[in-house]
């Protein structure tokens, strides 16, 4: 990890607090299981308007599962979740669809459709959800590509792009409907430090330019400290702490410090759980689309 002082200095130029106390996402007492294994053990958190919330934690802490719940991709065991003020368990299918149209996601792999060009990928949400004519959609796609500095790449196939470019194109697709909330899963994973830093700048630029809330799951500490307004630290399915970068850096918690200083935790896995994992009892595979 870099020197905390240098991180704080770099943040000063870009950081700005959330505009207001309005929560775009509210999670209360979220519990989820894969088979018999409890993954999230009563998580409660909020993502505020115009805020960049970074979710961190070690492997198996439940951060990716939490992100999937925030995107309404998983079925929870219990708890409540409000997205853009709507309790997603109590809304009609049409309302749920309307909520979804206001969400954007950039997955770790980019998740671009390999059979479509970059431009077609970006235009897909417009094509599916609007009545815009083809020319307008093309112009909008080009504008979004310009935002992510990929102008002129609209006719290439995803397989012709580098890893960093795929992530940028995924960002362009995620923001094409001007979402209220953007989710980013490990945006810097697998990228060299220069490209990763440029992506961090892009996330900050998008928040500033479009006024959206952004939820980022990452285990890259430098990246998290650079972009986060607040950080949620998960540990074994529980929230260890939620706070600003300053609060996280100043935390006296051993677990937080272990994560920040990359100290491996002792193996305290329950023997039964270990056995179940070995024999594949916890496999959450499903044949649903």
């Amino acid at each position: 990890m870099r020197n905390p002082q240098s991180i704080m200095e770099e943040r000063k130029s870009r950081h700005r607090p959330p505009t207001g106390p309005t929560a775009v996402i509210e999670v209360e007492d979220l519990v989820t299981h894969y088979g018999d294994r409890m993954i999230l053990k009563g998580v409660s958190m909020q993502v505020l308007e115009n805020e960049i919330m970074v979710i961190m934690g070690g492997s198996g802490s439940g951060k990716s599962t939490l992100l999937r719940h925030l995107m309404a991709l998983e079925v929870k065991t219990s708890g409540t979740m409000r997205i853009l003020g709507k309790d997603i368990d109590r809304i009609s299918r049409q309302e749920f669809l309307d909520v979804r149209k206001k969400l954007g996601v950039a997955f770790q792999s980019g998740a671009l459709f390999s059979s479509m060009t970059v431009g077609e990928n970006i235009m897909l949400p417009l094509y599916e959800h609007t009545d815009l004519d083809a020319l307008t959609m093309e112009i909008m796609a080009r504008m979004k590509l310009e935002v992510v500095e990929l102008s002129g790449f609209e006719n290439l196939m995803p397989s012709e792009l580098s890893g960093g470019m795929i992530k940028r194109a995924a960002f362009a697709r995620a923001i094409v409907m001007d979402p209220k909330v953007l989710f980013c899963d490990e945006p810097s994973a697998g990228l060299d430090p220069v490209v990763a830093s440029a992506l961090d700048d892009l996330i900050l630029d998008m928040r500033d330019a479009m006024g959206m809330s952004i939820v980022v799951v990452t285990h890259e500490l430098d990246s998290a400290f650079k972009i986060a307004d607040r950080i949620t630290i998960l540990d074994r399915g529980d929230i260890l702490m939620i706070g600003t970068v300053e609060e996280v850096l100043a935390s006296k918690s051993d677990r937080v410090q272990a994560l920040l200083n990359r100290i491996p935790e002792e193996d305290t896995m329950d023997p039964d759980e270990y056995l179940n994992r070995l024999v594949g009892e916890d496999n959450p595979g499903t044949a649903h689309l």
């Binding site: 669809l97 979804r100 792999s109 949400p125 599916e128 044949a287 649903h288």
Partner: protein, 270 residues
């Protein structure tokens, strides 16, 4: 002794798990078909219509691209039936009656069967691989977050295209099989093509054609559903996609052959 008991329990448990997985797959397939027809019929009302362009693209891949191989194989089967038929009937000196066997076999059995098996091998596997790859690349999750229903976007065009193209290919296969058999009969027995065609039309009824085409519609649904269910169940990356693809071909061909037998049994009892 204890180890033997444990082994027996594990075997029973394994059988139970396989049975549950099978029932779950069948259930998923049923839900998928119901959901697909829902989107086909009510997609416009839900402001998510099934795109004609996607259906046409699938029709091109499933149907048009398969025409050469369908023609070649159904033609070959037609000739093979003619050879075997003439050879067998010659024992009784009744080789001139070969047309009956060829007509019924091609229209009611071989054209639908060969077409179904070919489409399962070409397009069912491609569908499983495509959906499996999309699942492991999180493309299906991306669709969901974008508010695009994956069944409506991915499954309905493929299912609808299968329902249109498998019977169409079967019809083509019927003509090709009968024509190729006619050429052989003409060459071997000296029966003119016109006489052969006249005999064939006399023998066949619309029921026979309906039998063949009706079966091909069932095959189309089976191929699409088995491909999608296997693709959606992919786990474990590229290897998982490979396994799902292989499984979907084996299951689809098995389902086609078993359904063919059941259909023939039911239809001939009526």
């Amino acid at each position: 002794m204890a180890a033997q008991k444990l082994s027996a329990v594990q075997k029973i448990e394994g059988i139970g798990k396989t049975a549950v997985a099978f029932v779950e797959s069948v259930g998923n397939g049923g839900i998928l078909v119901a959901e697909s027809f829902y989107w086909l019929l009510f997609g416009i009302r839900e402001r998510q219509p099934v795109r004609l362009s996607a259906v046409i693209q699938q029709m091109m891949e499933i149907g048009i691209a398969a025409i050469p191989i369908i023609l070649m194989l159904t033609g070959t089967i037609g000739v093979m039936l003619a050879i075997q038929g003439i050879h067998t009937l010659r024992i009784f000196g009744a080789e001139s009656r070969v047309t009956i066997g060829i007509a019924f076999s091609v229209v009611r059995e071989f054209a639908p069967l060969i077409t179904g098996i070919l489409v399962a091998g070409r397009s069912g596997s491609a569908l499983a691989a495509r959906i499996g790859t999309m699942k492991i690349n999180q493309e299906i999750d991306a669709l969901k977050v974008m508010g695009i229903n994956p069944t409506r976007f991915l499954v309905v065009p493929a299912l609808f295209a299968m329902l249109l193209m498998v019977p169409a290919l079967t019809l083509l296969g019927i003509f090709m099989g009968l024509f190729a058999a006619g050429l052989y009969v003409n060459a071997d027995l000296g029966i003119s093509l016109a006489a052969y065609a006249h005999d064939t039309i006399d023998i066949l009824s619309l029921d026979d054609l309906g039998h063949g085409l009706g079966k091909s519609c069932i095959f189309a649904v089976l191929i699409a559903v088995i491909g999608v269910v296997n693709g959606a169940g992919v786990q474990g990356g590229a290897e998982g996609v490979g396994k799902a693809t292989t499984r979907s071909v084996v299951q689809a061909i098995s389902a086609i052959i078993v359904t063919d037998m059941l259909f023939a049994f039911v239809a001939t009892r009526g």
